[in-house]
Amino acid sequence: MSATFGVIVFPGSNCDHDAYHAMAHVMNAKTKFLWHKDTDLSDIDFLLIPGGFSYGDYLRSGAIARFSPIMQSVIEFAEKGGPVLGICNGFQILLEAGLLPGAMMHNQQLRFVCKQTHLRCETSDTLFTRNIEEGRVLQIPVAHGEGNYFTDEDQLKKLQDNDQIVFRYCDSQGKVTEEANFNGSVDNIAGICNPQRNILGMMPHPERAVEELIGSDDGKLIFESVLDELAVA
């Protein structure tokens, strides 16, 4: 039986339809929406926490969503090794829920930024990047006001030593430069995974990069990796 993807819908999620479209219509994967009050994830093989402004994000991005009924089930799902991808607000929620280390600050320019960015894939050793060679540059857009990833030096060293940094902002040639680090993230971090490597949080939106017509299809590489992994598993 083919794998089932679940896209969580919080009040204020606004990339839920985009994630659904990418998975169901472009990747042709079995996909369903999960309401934030749902708690039964027994038929889900892969969880996707989409972008948006859960609960309006008036307090701190993701700070309220972590208390949603579904989040306890998400934590249990992840702790059992279930794959979870948090994109943008989804990444922020994973940080707030303690499933990934670190915190998000406002972008250094204190403004929302939406544009195409280049990411360097830093590790192929995750189920999300198994088809992407290290050093490969992906063009994937960002759209966030709070994407300035921060963690202290000890934690950063752990991320580096454990190969948990999955994506870094880079220029079009793959150079990790200060200029490419538009939001001020520590160590140009755009995406990280947990030590068990089944949870990925990333600020850029791969679901917005699945068709040439809308600017890039590099995001498909991530979803193809996931689908291949699940097909084998």
Partner: protein
């Protein structure tokens, strides 16, 4: 609290005239009480009643085979785009609120226009904004720009609709009275539209969404007077937005409409409950009884007057089928929104508002509304004296500078021409994953329609300078340019919405200009078969010194039949592609950015336009695009041919070698004239013959200018030789650099 006695003086304080006060007494057969006076004053304000504009607006064409619902029948017109889908779109102003509270003013403008769209059952798929500010050198202007852009961004980004286009213009004429026009575009299945109607005696009336507070009381009245020294005191008239609540309202409302069980639904914007209840009742020839005690309020002790006039955002009024109200309430509650039955549809034709066991207001619904009893005026119109003076100005008498490299660079550095990247990178331009062409390097914003082969191309446009110099031609050009822009993106122009920003209509010169500009728009809409689907009028755009440029902003909807194969973009594509100028002679410098930048002059006559030729040019160009004879197309507008060529080069990072020798003798006119009906296209060398014979067959003149190169420089004869990097550095950064002078940004 005892309510004040209603006198003529009090009516005048509410913005009503003596004549209007008498009309009210006639309708009621008695003197209105305080609450009723408040309701009439907002409903008969310019903003709600269109009393000084409706007679002119009715002259605009509003019919066509593409129209499913005409202008004025609902909140916005509905255009047939095939595949069982309709498109609803509308542009609306939030100028006055933004002038004194730019962040909330702009934010609630965005919220309001989206509500107009989803109240009809349509999901908003794209938004645009058309902004005008004073001179960017002024700290106050930068403060307003910053606040407006943040307001639009924070609201729209959270709400989750991509911003795909728009404009920002700067001119001292807009000092103190910026224009903030927001447009929303939605798509609905033809059989899932909702109507703003109340009918069926006994059907319950439900208020949904946010609680009602004291914000925005008399917002509509405030929008209907000139901005003055006292305007700062009107700050409490500005509403406060909550995009999260609106997002919930959107999702819940679309679910409710799909579920069925509703008779009608109307969003609450200007004049709040008064407006939605009376308009729905008038439309259904029904009465309505509302119990204001049941309205969820944000604070204790609100009077009937305050509840009725509150413009608290993110609210809707729903008339349910009797017995199905609980289904509707359940859906709203699923989305954590209030939904409370506050009354019912009743026999008769009056809306009655009850509170504390008393009837607080009892008014014939029809007497309140546009198209019913609201006053309609024909105002005195006098041709302004300045027109003869500017139109007879001899531009040849000026001493035109000879260094074209410097002129081109100066134009690229004009904030009117320079990239608006600083602003649009703050907007989410891609959410919903439909954006094919976003803001920036495109003549219009293009979104694909999932599940079909089609796309929508949308554009806002108006050059207020042209309208100022020649209102009739200016009105024609606003429509023509917007149409040309969507054609350059590969779309057929379908219909327009408009936002008519003018000064005080009681000034005969303003009114004459208004009439002329509308007549011009009507000329063009008839020629292009683009009916007007609706819109908004914003009068009283004046600061203590002067009126703004008359600015009828056009929102154009275009349909791309085959998004994969017909979409078109302006950047040069490949080395050796042939570059053509297509269209009318490049003549006249009146109203140009060149005159403004080099001589600090806004004078001359507006550029000439021959509408019949323009229509032929556009249809020929669209054919050429659809037949894939061209691989780049870009409109010539502000800054003239020189700006068009530099943009095509900069967007591509490719250069060109060009000669304009065959275009005529006057190089300044050729390079900088904003003459209408001109585009630059490129063609692969092997398709050259096909393109040329197509244009010849259509009797559209063209001149071959040169070829695209892989060199990073643009060369025009011995006139211009500039590196792309140098040009781009100016073009891309002018506004950002200006906005970084943050320390002097003041309230």
């Amino acid at each position: 609290m005892k309510e004040p006695d209603v006198t003529l003086e009090l009516a005048k304080d509410h913005g009503l005239t003596e004549e209007e006060f008498e009309m009210i007494k006639d309708y009621l057969g008695r003197t209105p009480n305080f609450t009723e006076l408040g309701v009439y004053s907002v409903m008969w304000s310019e903003h709600c009643s269109y009393k000084n504009s409706i007679l002119e607006i009715k002259k605009l064409p509003n019919e066509g085979p593409q129209m499913l619902v005409g202008a004025g029948e609902e909140n916005a017109g509905l255009v047939d785009i095939g595949d069982g889908l309709g498109c609803v779109f509308k542009v609306e102003s939030h100028n006055h609120p933004s002038a004194i509270e730019p962040y909330e003013g702009a934010a609630t403008g965005v919220g309001g226009i989206h509500r107009d769209i989803f109240t009809m059952g349509a999901r908003p798929v794209a938004s645009l904004n058309s902004l005008r500010f004073g001179d960017m050198d002024m700290p106050r202007v930068r403060f307003l720009l910053d606040g407006v852009v943040r307001g639009i961004a924070d609201y729209g980004n959270s709400f989750g609709v991509p911003m795909v286009g728009g404009e920002i213009y700067f001119d001292e004429k807009y000092e103190g009275n910026p224009l903030v026009n927001a447009m929303s575009v939605g798509i609905v299945k033809e059989d899932q539209t909702a109507s703003a109607i109340a009918e069926g005696v006994g059907n319950p009336v439900i208020i949904v969404g946010s609680d009602t507070g004291r914000d925005g009381i008399h917002g509509a009245t405030f929008a209907s007077e000139e901005i003055s020294e006292e305007s700062e005191d009107k700050r409490p008239s500005v509403q406060v937005g909550d995009p999260f609540a609106e997002k919930l309202l959107l999702e819940a409302t679309l679910e409710v409409i799909k579920n069925g069980g509703i008779v009608g639904i109307q969003d609450m914007g200007a004049a709040g409950i008064s407006c939605s209840s009376s308009e729905m009742s008038a439309k259904g020839n029904a009465g309505m009884r509302l119990d204001l005690d049941k309205v969820p309020t944000r604070e204790e002790g609100m009077s009937a007057y305050e509840i009725l006039l509150s413009e608290s955002q993110e609210r809707m009024l729903v008339v349910a089928e009797e017995g199905r109200e609980q289904e509707i309430i359940d859906i709203y509650e699923k989305w954590d929104l209030n939904a409370v039955v506050i009354g019912e549809v009743v026999k008769g034709e009056n809306v009655t508002y009850h509170k504390d066991g008393e009837v607080k207001a009892d008014i014939p619904a029809d007497s309140l509304v546009l198209g019913g009893g609201a006053p309609q005026y024909k105002r005195e119109a006098t041709k302004p004296e300045y027109l003869d003076e500017v139109q007879s100005f001899d531009i040849n008498s000026l001493d035109h500078p000879g260094n074209h490299n410097e002129i081109v660079k100066q134009l690229l550095g004009s904030p009117n021409i320079a990239s608006k990247r600083w602003a649009f990178e703050q907007y989410d331009t891609m959410v919903r994953t439909n954006t094919v062409n976003g803001p920036g390097a495109s003549d219009s914003g293009v979104v694909r329609i999932k599940g079909t082969k089609k796309g929508l191309a949308v554009k806002t446009d108006c050059n207020g300078r042209y309208v100022y110099l020649n209102p009739r031609k200016g009105g024609q050009i606003a429509v023509a340019e917007a149409a040309r822009n969507v054609v350059c993106s590969g779309a057929k122009p379908m219909a327009i919405t408009n936002c008519l920003n003018f000064g005080n209509p009681y000034k005969p010169e303003v009114y004459w200009t208004f009439k002329e500009a509308l007549a011009g728009m009507g000329d063009a809409c008839r020629m292009f078969n683009t009916p007007v689907t609706g819109g908004n009028v914003s009068f009283y755009n004046e600061n203590p010194e002067m009126a703004i440029f008359p600015t009828p902003v056009i929102g154009m909807l275009g349909l791309v039949e085959d998004i994969e194969n017909h979409r078109m973009t302006p950047e040069f594509k490949n080395e050796s592609d042939v570059i053509y100028y297509v269209g009318a002679l490049r003549k006249g410098l009146g109203g140009s950015e060149y005159l403004r930048e080099i001589f600090d002059l806004t004078t001359g006559d507006a550029p000439d336009i021959d509408l019949e030729f323009e229509a032929r040019l556009q249809s020929s160009l669209l054919d050429a695009i659809q037949n894939q004879y061209v691989n780049a197309a870009h409109d010539i507008s502000d800054g003239g041919l020189a700006t068009t060529l530099t943009e095509m080069a900069m967007f591509a990072g490719k250069g060109a070698d060009v000669s304009v020798a065959d275009l005529g003798e006057n190089k300044h006119e050729i390079l900088y004239s904003e003459a209408q009906s001109g585009v630059v296209v490129t063609s692969e060398a092997k398709k050259k013959g096909q393109l040329e014979s197509h244009l010849n067959n259509q009797d559209v003149p063209f001149v071959e200018l040169g070829t695209v190169t892989n060199e990073r420089s643009l060369n025009v004869d011995d006139l211009v030789s500039l590196s792309i990097d140098e040009m781009y550095d100016i073009y891309d950064n002018v506004i950002e650099r200006a906005m970084k002078q943050k320390d002097d940004v003041v309230a």
